[in-house]
Symmetry: C2
Subunit: 227 residues, 2 copies
């Protein structure tokens, strides 16, 4: 349990066995906000204050956090730093999941350079591309290897996460092989809807093109309704 009883009444709900994906998807946001609050020196916060900042309702916050056991207590609120650390632990940011990246073009290179993998639970141990593109390069201190060495590398190093920065067709072709090689989670930047064909594999699709088209629709809608 994260929280020690110092008040009169401890709100401590039993941890749920099943946690809905929408709650899980909100956790990183809690983590971000609590990290900022902690950095600004806020020591404790009520669910109402946190709700105000995050534009949620206090009861939603209490409900969300109760899924993971008891945090906070009536009349006291949450200890910001403890809650921040606890959500980090729930998200697994200390787990160092062995991670490979496939595709080291512009996008792959930028993702590799840009992301704070170490502080989010990932250990980037291998980057792969076609031989002519690998060509002795290193990104973030990781040697870019010929894709033909992928099999032997995975059998030896046992990575569990693959970041796909390759085109649609290549992703579709490679996915089953990667799953066979032990990959349990994909961070997929290709257009291919990886989730459609596999079960029991964690998938986060970043469909930038879809997001851009949604933005187009909604912006046009706002412009039209303003006329």
């Amino acid at each position: 349990m994260l929280y020690y009883c110092v008040g009169e009444m401890v709100v401590h709900m039993p941890k749920s066995d099943y946690i809905s994906i929408s709650v899980i998807k909100r956790l990183p946001r809690y983590y971000r906000y609590l990290g900022e609050l902690s950095k600004s020196g806020v020591y404790r916060i009520s669910s109402r204050e946190l709700a105000g900042i995050m534009k949620l309702t206090a009861s939603q916050i209490r409900q969300d956090l109760n899924c993971f056991g008891g945090f906070g207590q009536q009349g006291y609120g949450y200890n910001v730093n403890d809650l921040y650390n606890e959500i980090g632990r729930i998200l697994g940011i200390d787990t160092e999941l062995k991670t490979i990246m496939v595709g080291a073009g512009n996008l792959g290179q930028t993702i590799a350079l840009h992301m704070d993998f170490e502080n989010k639970g990932f250990d980037l141990i291998g980057i792969f591309d076609r031989a002519e593109k690998a060509n002795g390069r290193s990104i973030r201190g990781v040697h870019v290897q010929d894709i033909n060495t992928l099999d032997s590398f995975c059998k030896e190093q046992k990575p569990v996460i693959a970041i796909l920065c390759i085109p649609n067709d290549a992703a579709r072709e490679l996915a089953p092989k990667l799953i066979e090689l032990g990959i349990k989670g994909f961070w997929n930047f290709s257009h291919y809807d990886l989730g459609v064909d596999y079960e029991n594999v964690a998938i986060e699709n970043i469909h930038l093109g879809d997001s851009l088209m949604t933005l187009s629709y909604r912006t046009n809608d706002i412009i039209k309704s303003a006329k």
Copy 2:
């Protein structure tokens, strides 16, 4: 109306005034799948067949598309190419929304190079960064300008979309100014939750860090439950 009656019964529902965000968010995916089908020479498709490919139910597909007026007809299905073009039109891919990008570091540069803006309804007309980073560079044929020229540029060119590839604090500071300058839609790559503070502005947040942490949680969950 997209569809001409050639069969016995035309399913033509009135266009809804209010379309839910979840339907809108599915449209780009329909667009992608129909584009691929059209490229592979598929001329028509039933809602059942499309549902099978997209892992949706046929009734959900019919319901989604009925929000936008009548497509398809019983016993015939959808004309793939017509539906593709019509969804593209609904998404506004022919609208050439004037777009600026703020932040031309690694991420900004890659986004500018990687995205197929022209075919998604956007016209990238300006890129801005601090003077020392702008430094005479061009990306995708667009000159990178000193951020100090942003005001005059927006007043003259009237862009409506801003792509933010800048840090949290810079995004928070710049957003109200951009809205004042006429920006109606944001493609936001910063950690800042832009949607929280503004209304009547279209916002697509790409929170890569949140996605990565969700992936960490879910992958750890799968690994644990396999043990």
